[in-house]
C-alpha cells in the first residue's frame, strides 16, 4: 500500500512535471459574435487575440475585439484559458458603459494580479485605460482611464507601480498600484522621456521588469534601443542599440533579455552588467522566408519567437553563440501569430491575431533542425 505511491512519485519526478500536464488543445476557440458584446450587432468585431500572460496554470489573453477595418467593435476582453481544456474565463474590461477599455492588447502579471492595457479606438480618443484583473475572481477590479494622448502599448509590473509605454511617443507613464492613480505622467509628475533618436515617430512597444530593473524598448523611424531603468523611479541607467523596429522582449533562461526586431528580421540578446549597464548583441538573423517578428517568450531552456508574416514559431537555444534555431513550427496561412506563451520546453500556446483562435503547439508540431 505504501510502496505504490512512493514509486509513482519517483516515476513522476524522473519524468519531469511536464509529463503530468495534459498537452494544449491544437485549436482553442475564443469567444465570438454576441459573446464579444458588439456595439453594432450588424458590424461586430472579432477577437484579435494579442498578448498573453500565465498565472495559476492558465493563459490569459487580451482580445482586441476589432472589426475588419481595425475600428473598435466592442469592449476589450481578457480571456482565461486552460490550454488543455479551453476557455474558462471571459472577462469584460469595458466597465459599466462598455467603453472604458477598448482594444486591449498587452497583459502582464506580478503572480497575483493581472494588468491589461487598452489602447483605445485608433480613430478616436476613447477607451484608453489600464485595467487590473483578479484572476481568481475572473473580474476587473480597478480601471485607470488614460488621456487621449496616453494610448498605452507595453506594460510591466513592479512592486509599487505598473509602468506603461506609450504608442505616441518614447515615453513611460506609471500607475501607483496602491491608489491606482496616475503617478508618472500625471499633472504633478512628468512622464519619463526616453532619448530615442527619431524624426517621424517613436514609441515604446514593450516593457519588462527584472528584479529592480525596468527594461523598455524604443522603436522609431531611425533606431531601435533597449533602455535599462530604475523600476521605482524610472531613471534611465543605460541603453543599447538593437535591431530595427524592436517589438517585444522577454527574459531568457539564463537571465539575459531576448529582443525580437521586425524591421530587420533579427533576434538580439541584451546583457545586464554591473552598475546598471546593459549591452546588446545580435544573436540571430532570421532566414529570408521568415517575416515580421512579433512576439517572444521563454521556457526553462529555450526562447520562442513568432513571425506573423510567415506564420511561423521558432524555438531557439540562446545559450550558444550565435543563437541556434533548434525547431520551428508552421501555422496555417492567415494565422499571423502574435504572442507566444511557453508552457514548457516543448509546448506553447500561440495567439494568432488574424485567426481569432489560440493555437496549441506540441513537440510533434515543431520540425527540428538537422544536427
Amino acid at each position: 500500500m505504501r510502496r505504490t505511491p512512493i514509486l509513482l512519485f519517483a516515476l513522476a519526478a524522473a519524468c519531469g512535471s511536464a509529463q503530468h500536464t495534459p498537452p494544449p488543445l491544437n485549436t482553442i476557440p475564443l469567444p465570438k459574435g454576441a459573446a464579444l458584446k458588439p456595439y453594432d450587432a450588424a458590424n461586430p468585431g472579432t477577437p484579435h487575440p494579442y498578448n498573453m500572460a500565465q498565472i495559476g496554470g492558465k493563459v490569459f489573453v487580451a482580445l482586441g475585439n476589432l472589426r475588419p477595418d481595425y475600428s473598435v467593435g466592442g469592449p476589450g476582453f481578457l480571456v482565461g484559458v486552460v490550454p488543455s481544456q479551453g476557455v474558462t474565463d471571459v472577462i469584460d474590461l469595458g466597465g459599466a458603459d462598455g467603453r472604458q477599455c477598448q482594444n486591449s492588447g498587452a497583459v502582464r502579471t506580478d503572480g497575483t494580479m493581472l494588468y491589461v492595457t487598452c489602447s483605445g479606438d485608433f480613430s478616436g480618443s476613447s477607451g484608453r485605460a489600464l485595467v487590473e484583473v483578479d484572476p481568481a475572481a475572473a473580474k476587473a477590479t480597478r480601471t485607470r482611464t488614460l488621456a487621449a494622448d496616453q494610448a498605452p502599448s507595453g506594460l510591466a509590473v513592479t512592486a509599487n507601480k505598473v509602468w506603461m509605454g506609450l504608442s505616441s511617443s518614447a515615453s513611460l507613464i506609471s500607475v501607483d498600484r496602491t491608489t491606482f492613480a496616475l503617478a508618472d505622467g500625471s499633472d504633478t509628475h512628468q512622464a519619463i522621456a526616453l532619448e530615442c533618436p527619431h524624426k517621424i515617430y517613436a514609441y515604446v512597444p514593450d516593457l519588462l521588469t527584472v528584479g529592480s530593473d525596468l527594461y523598455a524598448l524604443c522603436s522609431s523611424d531611425q533606431a531601435g534601443v533597449i533602455f535599462r531603468l530604475d523600476s521605482s523611479t524610472g531613471a534611465v541607467r543605460d541603453h543599447a542599440n538593437v535591431g530595427a523596429t524592436p517589438t517585444a522582449l522577454a527574459a531568457t533562461p539564463d537571465g539575459r533579455l531576448a529582443v525580437v526586431c521586425s524591421g530587420d528580421n533579427t533576434l538580439w540578446i541584451a546583457t545586464p552588467g554591473q552598475g546598471g549597464t546593459v549591452t546588446a548583441q545580435l544573436a540571430h538573423t532570421y532566414a529570408g522566408g521568415t517575416a515580421t517578428l512579433q512576439g517572444v517568450g521563454s521556457s526553462a531552456r529555450y526562447v520562442f519567437t513568432t513571425a506573423s508574416g510567415s506564420n511561423t514559431v521558432q524555438k531557439i537555444d540562446v545559450s550558444v553563440t550565435p543563437a541556434k534555431v533548434v525547431a520551428e513550427a508552421s501555422m496555417n496561412a492567415g494565422t499571423a501569430p502574435w504572442d507566444v506563451a511557453p508552457l514548457n520546453d516543448d509546448e506553447v500556446v500561440v495567439s494568432g491575431s488574424l485567426s481569432d483562435d489560440l493555437t496549441g503547439l506540441t513537440a510533434v508540431d515543431f520540425k527540428t533542425a538537422p544536427q
Binding site: D69, Y201, A223
Partner: protein, 647 residues
C-alpha cells in the same frame, strides 16, 4: 521647309529600332504575313533612335512583331530591355507593374499613343490591363525625363505605340494554355488613299490555379511544400480603334479609342490568402489629334480624355471579407482626366528645330475611401533639336508645370555625337544626358483614408535628378550599347508607421541610385537574331537613421536577359533566359528574396498559307519557388499552343 530639318524630323519620327533593322536585314522573304507586318520604312538615321519626344535619351525599342507566335503580356515585352524592373503579383491577369532604373512604379510614366495612363488615383499603371496584341511597339526611355514628358518621369517613360492600319486585311490569333489560360484576338485594317482604319480586340481568360511551392519552416529546413493558387482567375476584354484621315496635302486627323474591362480575383500573399476578394475594372480613353504643316513649321493639336473605374469586393485592410455583408462594403474608385495640348515646331536659324508645347487639363477622382477631389494641370515646354557640326546633336528641353497648387520647372538635356564620318567606326555614337524633375503626390496619397491608411493633404512633390552617358554601336549586323547613370532622389514619399498600427505617407526618404545598362543584338545566319541585356543597379537609401546606407528593397542588383530567336518563312522559334539576382526584401539588407532563373522556349511552323501554329513553354525548369513582391507566388512550368493567321 529646309531639307536638313525635313530629314531630321523624318528621322526622329521614323528611325527604326535596332532590332527591327537587324531583323529586316537578316530576314529572307517570309511570305505574305511578314511583308504585311514589315511595311517599308524610310530609314534616315540622322538622329538617335528611340522616342520622338526624347531624342538621344537612353532608350530601347521593343517591336511586338518580333514576338509573333508567343503569348506575351506588356510586362513580358518589357523584360528584354535593360534598366527595367518588373513586378507581378502572380500569373496572367494579375497586377503587374514596371519601374525603370530603380525608381518606383509610380515614378515611371506609361503612355499609350502619348496619352499618360495612371491607375485610379494617379498611382502605378497595372500593365495586366493593357493588351499586348493591340500594340505595334514599345519604346522604353530611361532617365529623368520630366522636361520631355512631364511630371512623374523620374525613372523614365514607357511609350506604348498602338498598331495602325498599313494595308487592307485582317488577322486572328488564338492561344490556349496551362491553368485555363486562353487568349483570342483579332483585327481588321483598312488603308487606302488618304484614309486608314484599324479595329482590334483581345479577350483573355485564365483560371490562374497554378501550383507553387513555399517553405513552411525556413529556419530549419530548405524543403518546400506544394500548394495550389486560389482565387487568381481573371477575365478581360480589350478593344482598340484607330482611324486616320488625310484632310489635305499637309493635314491629318487621327482618332484613337481604347477601352477595356476585366474582373479578377485578388488572391493575396500566400501567407495571408484572400479567397473572397475580387477586383472589377473598366476604363477607356478617347484621343484626337490634328496635325499639319504650314510653310516650314509643323503643328499638332490634340485632345484626349480618360475614364477609369475600379471596384473592390470582399477587400479589407489585411484580410478578405464576405462581399455583401454590412461590415464588408464595396470600395469603389473612379478617376477621369481631360487634356488638351498644342505643339508648334519650327526652324530657328540653320541649326535649330524648336518645339513649343502648351498643355492643360484637369483630373478628377471620386471614391469610397477618397471622397471627390479634382485638380488642374498645365504645362509649357520648350524643346530644341540642335544640329551642330561634326555630327553632333543636342536636345535641350525645359518644362514649367503646374499640378494642382504645386508648381515646378523641369530642365533636361541630351546630346549625341557620331565621332567618325568614315571608316569602320562610323556606327559609333556617344551620348549623354541629364535631367531634373518631380513627381507630384497622387490623389490617392493625398486623400486615401482607409482606417489604418491615413491621407496626407500636405504632401509635397518628390524630386530627382540624374545624369547618364553611354556609347552605342549601330551596325548593319551588330548593335551594342552601354550606359551608366547616377540619380539622386529627395522628398520621397514613404508610408510611415503612425503607431501603433496606422500608416501615413510622408516626404521623408532620400536615395541615390546608380547603375549600368548593357544591351547587344546581332543578326546571325539562317535568320537567327541573338540579343542580350544586362542591368546592374545599386540603389541605396540616404535616409537618416538605421536605414542609411542600406539598399532599397526589391531592387535586384543584377538582371540578365538573353534570347535567341529565328523568324523564318516556314519555321520560327526562340529560346530565352532571364536571371534576376537575389534582392533585398526589407530596408536593412537583412532579408533577401532568392535569385530566380527562368527559361522559356517556343517553336512554330507555317502549316498552310498564312496559318502558323506555335507551341510555347515558359519556366522550363518548373521552378515553383519563384515569388515576387509581398509573398506572391509566380507560376511554374506552363505550356501554350497558339494559332494565328492573316488574311
Amino acid at each position: 521647309m529646309p531639307r536638313a530639318f525635313a530629314a531630321l524630323r523624318r528621322s526622329i519620327r521614323f528611325a527604326p529600332p535596332a532590332l527591327t533593322a537587324l531583323a529586316l536585314a537578316a530576314l529572307p522573304a517570309r511570305g505574305e504575313e511578314t511583308r504585311r507586318e514589315a511595311a517599308p520604312i524610310d530609314v534616315v538615321v540622322q538622329a538617335p533612335p528611340g522616342s520622338v519626344r526624347a531624342p538621344a535619351a537612353e532608350s530601347t525599342v521593343v517591336e511586338t512583331s518580333a514576338f509573333a507566335g508567343e503569348v506575351r503580356s506588356v510586362a513580358e515585352l518589357l523584360g528584354s530591355s535593360p534598366g527595367v524592373s518588373l513586378h507581378a503579383l502572380g500569373g496572367p491577369g494579375q497586377t503587374a507593374t514596371v519601374s525603370l532604373r530603380g525608381a518606383t512604379a509610380d515614378q515611371s510614366l506609361v503612355l499609350l499613343d502619348g496619352i499618360p495612363l495612371h491607375g485610379p488615383g494617379g498611382g502605378a499603371v497595372d500593365l495586366s490591363t493593357l493588351p499586348a496584341t493591340l500594340l505595334d511597339r514599345v519604346v522604353v526611355s530611361r532617365g529623368v525625363l520630366g522636361a520631355q514628358f512631364g511630371a512623374g518621369a523620374l525613372g523614365g517613360v514607357v511609350e506604348l505605340v498602338p498598331r495602325k492600319a498599313k494595308v487592307r486585311g485582317a488577322g486572328a490569333q488564338l492561344s490556349v494554355g496551362s491553368h485555363g489560360t486562353a487568349q483570342l484576338s483579332g483585327d481588321i485594317e483598312f488603308a487606302e488613299g488618304g484614309a486608314s482604319a484599324l479595329a482590334a480586340a483581345e479577350l483573355d481568360t485564365t483560371q490562374g490555379d497554378f501550383p507553387y511551392s513555399r517553405q513552411l519552416t525556413p529556419e530549419v529546413s530548405p524543403d518546400y511544400s506544394d500548394f495550389t493558387r486560389e482565387n487568381a482567375d481573371a477575365r478581360r476584354g480589350s478593344a482598340l480603334v484607330r482611324w486616320a484621315q488625310q484632310l489635305g496635302a499637309d493635314t491629318e486627323l487621327a482618332v484613337l479609342l481604347q477601352a477595356g474591362a476585366g474582373v479578377h480575383g485578388l488572391p493575396g500573399p500566400y501567407t495571408t490568402p484572400t479567397q473572397r476578394s475580387r477586383a472589377l475594372d473598366q476604363g477607356g480613353l478617347l484621343g484626337a489629334r490634328l496635325r499639319g504643316e504650314a510653310g516650314s513649321a509643323a503643328w499638332t493639336v490634340r485632345a484626349w480624355g480618360r475614364i477609369d473605374r475600379l471596384e473592390l469586393r470582399g477587400v479589407q485592410v489585411v484580410e478578405d471579407c464576405a462581399d455583401g455583408e454590412p461590415s464588408c462594403p464595396r470600395l469603389s474608385q473612379r478617376s477621369m482626366a481631360a487634356h488638351g495640348e498644342a505643339e508648334l515646331g519650327f526652324p530657328f536659324g540653320d541649326a535649330h528645330w524648336l518645339r513649343v508645347t502648351a498643355a492643360g487639363g484637369e483630373e478628377w477622382i471620386a471614391g469610397t475611401s477618397t471622397g471627390p477631389h479634382r485638380r488642374g494641370v498645365a504645362s509649357l515646354a520648350l524643346m530644341d533639336d540642335v544640329r551642330l557640326p561634326g555630327r553632333v546633336s543636342v536636345h535641350p528641353a525645359l518644362r514649367a508645370e503646374l499640378v494642382g497648387a504645386q508648381a515646378a520647372v523641369s530642365p533636361g538635356i541630351a546630346a549625341a555625337w557620331r565621332p567618325f564620318s568614315g571608316g569602320p567606326l562610323v556606327p559609333v555614337e556617344l551620348r549623354a544626358g541629364a535631367g531634373l524633375s518631380f513627381r507630384p503626390p497622387t490623389l490617392t496619397e493625398l486623400y486615401l483614408d482607409q482606417g489604418v491608411v491615413l491621407p496626407n493633404p500636405d504632401l509635397e512633390p518628390e524630386h530627382a535628378w540624374s545624369a547618364d552617358a553611354g556609347v552605342r554601336w549601330h551596325g548593319q549586323v551588330l548593335t551594342i550599347s552601354a550606359a551608366a547613370f547616377y540619380s539622386r532622389y529627395r522628398e520621397l514619399i514613404s508610408y510611415e508607421l503612425s503607431p501603433p498600427i496606422r500608416v501615413k505617407p510622408l516626404n521623408v526618404a532620400r536615395a541615390r541610385i546608380a547603375g549600368l545598362e548593357l544591351q547587344a543584338a546581332v543578326a546571325l545566319p539562317q535568320a537567327f537574331v541573338a540579343e542580350a541585356s544586362y542591368t546592374y543597379l545599386d540603389a541605396v537609401s540616404l535616409r537618416d537613421g538605421n536605414q542609411d546606407g542600406h539598399h532599397l528593397s526589391y531592387r535586384p542588383p543584377h538582371r540578365l536577359f538573353a534570347r535567341l530567336a529565328r523568324r523564318g518563312d516556314r519555321i520560327e522559334g526562340y529560346g530565352e533566359a532571364s536571371f534576376v539576382s537575389s534582392m533585398p526584401r526589407d530596408s536593412f539588407d537583412s532579408a533577401k528574396l532568392p535569385a530566380q532563373l527562368t527559361l522559356n522556349a517556343g517553336l512554330g511552323a507555317r502549316v498552310v498559307g498564312t496559318l502558323w501554329l506555335d507551341l510555347e513553354a515558359k519556366n522550363l525548369l518548373d521552378d515553383r519557388t519563384h515569388e515576387d513582391l509581398f509573398q506572391y507566388p509566380l507560376p511554374g512550368f506552363t505550356l501554350a499552343a497558339l494559332a494565328r493567321a492573316r488574311f
